[in-house]
Symmetry: C2
Subunit: 236 residues, 2 copies
Amino acid sequence: MKSAATSERSPDPRHSVRATRTAGRAMRSRLLAAASRLFRERGLTGVSIADIAEAADAFPSQITYYFRTKEALFVEAACRDVLYVGRAAEQHAGKQLSPSDYTRALVESVMGTDAVGFFVETMTMTRRRQDLAPLVERTVERLHAEGLRAYAAEMAARGWHSRLDPETSARRFWAIAIGVTIEGQAMGRSADELAAEMRGLRGPQADAPPDAARLRVIGANDPVPDTPSAGKEKQR
Amino acid sequence: MKSAATSERSPDPRHSVRATRTAGRAMRSRLLAAASRLFRERGLTGVSIADIAEAADAFPSQITYYFRTKEALFVEAACRDVLYVGRAAEQHAGKQLSPSDYTRALVESVMGTDAVGFFVETMTMTRRRQDLAPLVERTVERLHAEGLRAYAAEMAARGWHSRLDPETSARRFWAIAIGVTIEGQAMGRSADELAAEMRGLRGPQADAPPDAARLRVIGANDPVPDTPSAGKEKQR
């Protein structure tokens, strides 16, 4: 390949540009990871740029170079985290075998972290800081779009039937996640309580066709389907 | 009556206690109203105790006497406002004639003010200020309880059938209202857009029995029921 051949005649300006870009991305990512951990523990006002630089083994000037302000770093860290949690939840849910387990896994993955709470802080912050709004806005749009894409793909691949149109189901997922998180913060609820409240408010989202219902693995918490043609009859 | 007779032999100590209490309640209420207006316009950090005192024609010391801190006044004003808006919404919705108009009126009343946005700010504030959490917690409980009571009473009085159990319907109303408000703030949505998003995410809540559907007044936005026994047939 051309790039491999030319790299022996160093310095290749494209190669060093690429190396610089890679190093830049790695530093950005390290700063975001350190910032996320500190902000989640202590909140925006409890963390300084110097604290984040120290935790990431970097200089304060590198933070202002990549993010300009502490508030912009706060918003970017929260947006990155909630998108990551949304994708991890889809992957975890994708391994489940029934619609009810899929729905439960999605909710428990998202509510099992404090990423939604962290993201909510940035959303309320942008009410008074319109300069920070565009990234939050794009993140909400991506959460909706990625949620819709994953949900619609699961329904199609498994032959499940969504009770609501998939777009409403995906958007409602995030509205309820946000609402339940904020209420839960005010009520001092645990992650388990938040997940239980959210599951109750969402209700069943999808149904498997009768064939799939007979073939699927029956979990401990699933009611045994009351189908006359099922191989095993439930004792009454 | 006894109090009327004794009031002529003034000073009646109970009378003056009552007068003092009434004056105290009036001052509290005046301070809350002024604070609410200023906080909604400028946010917590944009308003001082001196500003509120001036707007309410009071002394700063009266604010600290009744509320101790600006933050506590902020929380109490937001809690009072959201409870008021919830009740006003129930009253407005109670005048509607069909389940779909009832649902729409509830959503539009609540989303037509910025009371939910103001309340959300206090909810996120209590995440770092646990001393202010109890009032917010009681307010969330009251919103749920009052919403449930009003909704269940409407269903029973009109013979409507709720699609969800009424408690889930009432709790989901507030979770979605909060989630949609926060997303909408980040997205720069108008009150009308928030209401439309919330109506879409809630979906139909209740159904009238067939008789009531034929008798109800048909609004401009309602589809004409396609019932063969209806007096007027829609032209096609």
